[in-house]
Symmetry: C2
């Protein structure tokens, strides 16, 4: 028997430690994956890929004391050497090698993708097929660090606002939204479905915790094959009680975006720089009615409306353009969506029941959030279910919460991969999805 007492101090150093003043001229141990080797004849640069970035190691045959041939691209190594400043090296430092230890070697002679290039010059298809390889490219992996920042900001901000994190089941007896877009499975010989959203559960939990959130996968069996749809994605969901109106939900999302921008600036500067991301202005976000912005766009750009109850993707793009040109904003809340296009639990506008107290948030002309106020009154809810010709069957546990009292409440769901995509300036949501699932892709 022996004791574990916590994380051990290691001799090997991270880049941030090497950069600290006073380290210059000192002998250090470092490790990493051999990202690339540039052999210049008398000297060679062995660039290591570490979690904090690239570290240039300088090999000189006489001083380094080993044969460069034993080092291969893709190997994992531990090396010793002396830290020196070098403005031209990544991160401004380099290590003059005095020894190396090969931790592991690749089996293959060549990488299937040129990951050590600054921009990975290959098709999306190839990137996704070789996901474990393509993410070894510094720019590719940086997108997912930014994605981490967005998720982390969501949680940290909501903790600070008194929200409780919940974990709701992904396998259930029926879908929250209904409809055909549900994946079905066999659950010990009973029919079951995969959750399209945590909608019912998060509403039920408002009665217990007042404010809840979840960051988890959702599943949509939609037969879309577009650049913006996925069949599995990460949804950032929250739901909050005791609201005065659905403006409280938009205000909370605005607060989140402000916090996210701050956190990214503070903790993810390296990745923002790698991806050349300019953070959007979020100090104020315009909110405009659905019918109003539709008219404005139609007027300004001569766009012909096809569907008066919904926004076509091209119309969203024009709204994005309008909002940028007229109000100088990358974001816009489009409010009061037609009741027809919103689920039964959406609260209708008491001033005009053809519309709902709901919104979408568009970012750069694309929907990244859907939210709004929900019905909290049991009778109003059951009447709307009946009016839509829906059955209450199977909805009893959901309705129980309302039967026994629920505060006025509302919430939203943010598509994490889309938000990352727009922030990173990508044009396909698969670029910012670790392992996308779509009509044709189930692997890797």
């Amino acid at each position: 028997m022996e004791y574990l007492t916590g994380v051990r101090d290691k001799e090997v150093m991270e880049i941030s430690e090497l950069k600290k003043s006073g380290k210059e001229g000192q002998k250090v141990w470092v490790n990493g994956a051999v990202h690339t080797i540039r052999d210049m004849g008398t000297i060679a640069f062995v660039v290591l890929r570490k979690r904090e970035g690239l570290l240039q190691c300088v090999y000189e045959k006489k001083k380094s004391g080993f044969d460069l041939k034993i080092v291969r691209e893709g190997a994992a190594v531990e090396a010793e050497g002396v830290v020196e400043k070098n403005e031209k090296a990544p991160n401004g430092i380099e290590v003059h090698l005095e020894g190396i230890h090969i931790l592991s070697e690749p089996e293959a002679v060549r990488m299937p993708l040129a990951v050590s290039k600054w921009k990975l010059d290959t098709s999306l298809e190839a990137k996704l097929n070789y996901r474990s390889i393509s993410l070894r490219n510094i720019r590719e992996r940086a997108k997912f660090r930014v994605q981490e920042g967005l998720t982390r900001a969501f949680r940290d901000f909501l903790y600070s606002q008194g929200f409780t994190e919940i974990h709701t089941p992904k396998i259930g007896a029926r879908g929250a939204e209904g409809g055909a877009n549900i994946f079905k499975l066999d659950y010990f010989h009973r029919p079951a479905v995969l959750a399209q959203s945590p909608q019912f559960y998060k509403q039920m939990m408002v009665g217990a915790f007042d404010r809840v959130f979840e960051t988890a996968p959702v599943f949509r069996a939609e037969k879309h094959s577009t650049k913006r749809h996925l069949n599995e994605y990460t949804s950032l969901d929250f739901e909050m009680g005791y609201i005065d109106g659905f403006e409280d939900i938009m205000a909370m999302e605005t607060g989140y975006l402000q916090y996210a921008v701050k956190l990214l600036k503070k903790e993810y500067e390296r990745e923002l720089c790698i991806l050349d991301i300019t953070l959007p202005e979020v100090s104020r976000i315009p909110a405009v009615r659905f019918s109003e912005i539709k008219e404005r766009v139609s007027e300004k750009y001569g766009h012909k409306m096809k569907n008066p109850f919904d926004l076509e993707p091209e119309e969203e793009l024009l709204i994005g353009r309008y909002v940028k040109e007229e109000w100088g904003s990358d974001f816009v809340f489009v409010t009061h969506y037609p009741s027809k296009k919103r689920p039964f639990y959406a609260m209708d506008d008491p001033e005009d029941s053809r519309y709902t107290l709901s919104f979408d948030l568009l970012f750069g002309g694309m929907e990244v959030t859907t939210g709004g106020q929900r019905i909290h009154d049991y009778r109003m809810l059951t009447e709307k279910i009946a009016a839509r010709g829906m059955s209450k069957e199977g909805m009893e546990p959901y309705l129980d919460a309302f039967k026994h009292g629920m505060p006025p409440h509302g919430g939203l769901g943010i598509g994490l991969e889309r938000l990352t995509m727009k922030l990173a300036g990508e044009d396909n949501v698969r670029e910012t999805t670790l392992f996308p699932r779509d009509l044709s892709r189930l692997e890797p």
Copy 2:
């Protein structure tokens, strides 16, 4: 068009604000759900349930200016009144009512469960059937606040240790561990499965990010009907590269537990108090070999070993007892599990290949974590796959990562609901699962 500028200041106050010095004697606005009403004749106590706890409001017919009859248990209300100190009241304060506004009313006359009692005196079955109601009990909901603390600590600690958060797909073409315990579904007319664990993906991502973690649902179609098994649960997973041995994984988990205890003490004191939880000692955690602890337990308690390759639940309990009695610890790492009982990717002990460089962490005599070092060498991995009579088919994307170089690495998976269960002193994992899924339960 109008602008949203962030979270608005509200007049209504939370309990922590009301408790601040200087608030005494002041008129305030508060809101909450009517948890219980105790009518004493001349005065009445209207206790509000808020996210921070219970708030006692004092009703006096003459002073309060409304009829108590309009207030019903289960209603959501906004009230005005004057804050006063009262040592006997929950949180040491009360509000003397001067007005009330009913935000919403329950449809039903009676709650199906007596949620306002201190301990919810009902069966687990009833609690789960009425989950949205039973969690309105202060003790019941507190368990899930503690669960939040455990998850939050996991992420925050790993962020501080240079880990990147990832989101891996839950729908895939094949399972990571193989075997029969996989839920199957139809994915656009192709056979697909639900992820038993993020194992393959997190290993693949070590090659890109060095250290990764995920907190997400996993799905096991196991036909167990026990107090400790769920068919869907939240797994806290991490995987880290450049380890010197599997001891690094155990050290990282010990560090996490130490951080979790600290965070719970700091941010969740209220809930620890409600649940009467004494936090375990985690400054050092004993680690003992599988075969050694089996013998020790057999010797001390006269336990007859049935299965030399695995631990029976009753054996785990005895180990828990032994470790507590002999080494004064609630936790123990049981190391070097037999190779037979570990998956193909587990690294065998080079000193004795019948055993693996792996471990389970037991907490109070129950497994809450499985982890270990993984094979990082492509040849060793493919040879082990062949030796087990498995096929490489469908594993190519996983094997690609190794073919092109992977550092020595390892990781673990923690069952969040089990960890919460043991911490809260519960004896059924369903007590600490928001909406459990088991052989018979698919709803709510």
